[in-house]
């Protein structure tokens, strides 16, 4: 463990014929998530050709362009549907779905809960930046209550979505949350999520300084990272806290670990079973 896999590894997985530096704003956490994803795939030793990265629309959708895996950039909210199709057609592939919070929770919310219910063997990575960043900073379902956004200049009234509880309720095999400040923990979580069969969801909290931070008293990208550093707390410690101190803290870590068989395995098992008597049944 003396040598950590750093940016030298990442540079070998990037498409250097694309325009760099990437389009994301200075201090955007999406780049860190992409780097973490590449490192976790590298540490698992999966060949580039066996990885499929499916991305939706939004800031997170841009990430698939830069990596040298099999990638597709799909329509808004439908990344999981495309990923389901890919996994069913070729279960050997490691399908990783990159979605933003708007992509996964609002327009693609239905796909998310049904993919979790079906337990299809896809790794869904939800990059939660609390806002619709690319379109100009409108409130998303993950915007915290009371936060100021372009469409809510006097504060958001709705409660925000809890992605972890949603996925747990929908029946996902593996649910975890990490932040881009706690990179090593996030990498471990991603390795577990990719290894585990069945549907696994990882919510990565990434700060959006340009659209969210500037309107919410975070003057620089560094302030947003300090906020993550202060608010995030491991699930184990969060559960030990008394109820009145939990307000405003962000539990990170692994929340759900189940061992249900993935949908594609069940499907191919059923197919084999149905084909058996047909091969015998020529009598």
């Amino acid at each position: 463990m003396s040598k950590f896999a750093g940016n030298e590894i990442i540079h070998q997985y990037l498409r250097h014929n694309k325009k760099f530096p990437h389009v994301l704003c200075a201090g955007c956490g999406h780049g860190i998530v992409l780097g973490t994803l590449i490192r976790s795939i590298h540490s698992l030793g999966i060949p580039k050709d066996d990885v499929v990265v499916v991305a939706g629309i939004g800031c997170s959708g841009r990430l698939a362009v830069y990596v040298d895996f099999n990638t597709i950039h799909t329509t808004h909210g439908r990344a999981l549907s495309f990923a389901t199709g890919i996994k069913m057609a070729n279960p050997r592939l490691n399908v990783i779905c990159l979605m933003g919070d708007g992509d996964a929770l609002s327009i693609g919310g239905n796909h998310l809960i049904h993919a979790a219910r079906r337990n299809i063997g896809v790794t869904a990575l939800v990059l939660n930046n609390n806002i619709y960043g690319m379109t100009g900073g409108q409130s998303s379902p993950a915007t915290p209550e009371g936060a100021t956004t372009m469409t809510n200049p006097y504060g958001q009234l709705d409660k925000s979505f809890d992605t972890v509880e949603l996925a747990r309720g929908a029946g996902a095999n593996f649910v975890a949350r990490g932040t881009v400040f706690h990179v090593n923990r996030l990498e471990k979580i991603m390795v577990q999520a990719i290894e585990r069969p069945g549907f696994s969801l990882v919510e990565a909290i990434t700060p959006c300084h340009t659209q969210f931070g500037r309107k919410n008293k975070y003057k620089s990208p560094v302030d947003m990272y300090n906020w993550l550093k202060k608010t995030a707390i491991t699930v184990e410690r969060y559960n030990e806290l008394p109820e009145n101190k939990r307000e405003g803290r962000l539990p990170i870590g692994v929340f759900v670990e189940r061992d249900r068989i993935g949908f594609e395995e069940q499907y191919y098992a059923m197919q084999r079973q149905l084909l058996k008597p047909a091969a015998k049944g020529g009598k």
Partner: protein, 97 residues
């Protein structure tokens, strides 16, 4: 392990990829990095680097590489951008993109 390597590390920053967000400068435990007049990160006190890896892991633009001075360079700098040596086999050309 990390502390033993103090003074034995090289920090490379690819200036064309750096956007000057300042995360590496703010959180470096040894204050190795600073911002120059262009607002980009530069190495100020390389000898103090303990190779904790924070800047490298948290750079959103993959613009920093920290490594032991004796290790061979795998990614070279060309006009401020990183150019990996052609180490990985160039198979599956023209498949994606």
């Amino acid at each position: 392990m990390a502390r033993k390597s103090k003074g034995n590390n090289s920090v490379t920053i690819y200036p064309d990829w750096c956007k000057g967000c300042g995360i590496c400068v703010e959180f470096c435990p040894q204050k190795v990095l600073g911002l120059n007049d262009q607002g980009k990160a530069t190495v100020v006190r390389e000898a103090n680097c303990i190779r904790c890896g924070f800047c490298e892991l948290h750079c959103p633009d993959f613009a920093i590489v920290v490594k032991n001075k004796e290790e061979p360079v795998e990614v070279e700098m060309e006009n401020g951008t990183p150019k990996p040596k052609a180490k990985a086999k160039p198979k599956a050309k023209g498949k994606g993109a």
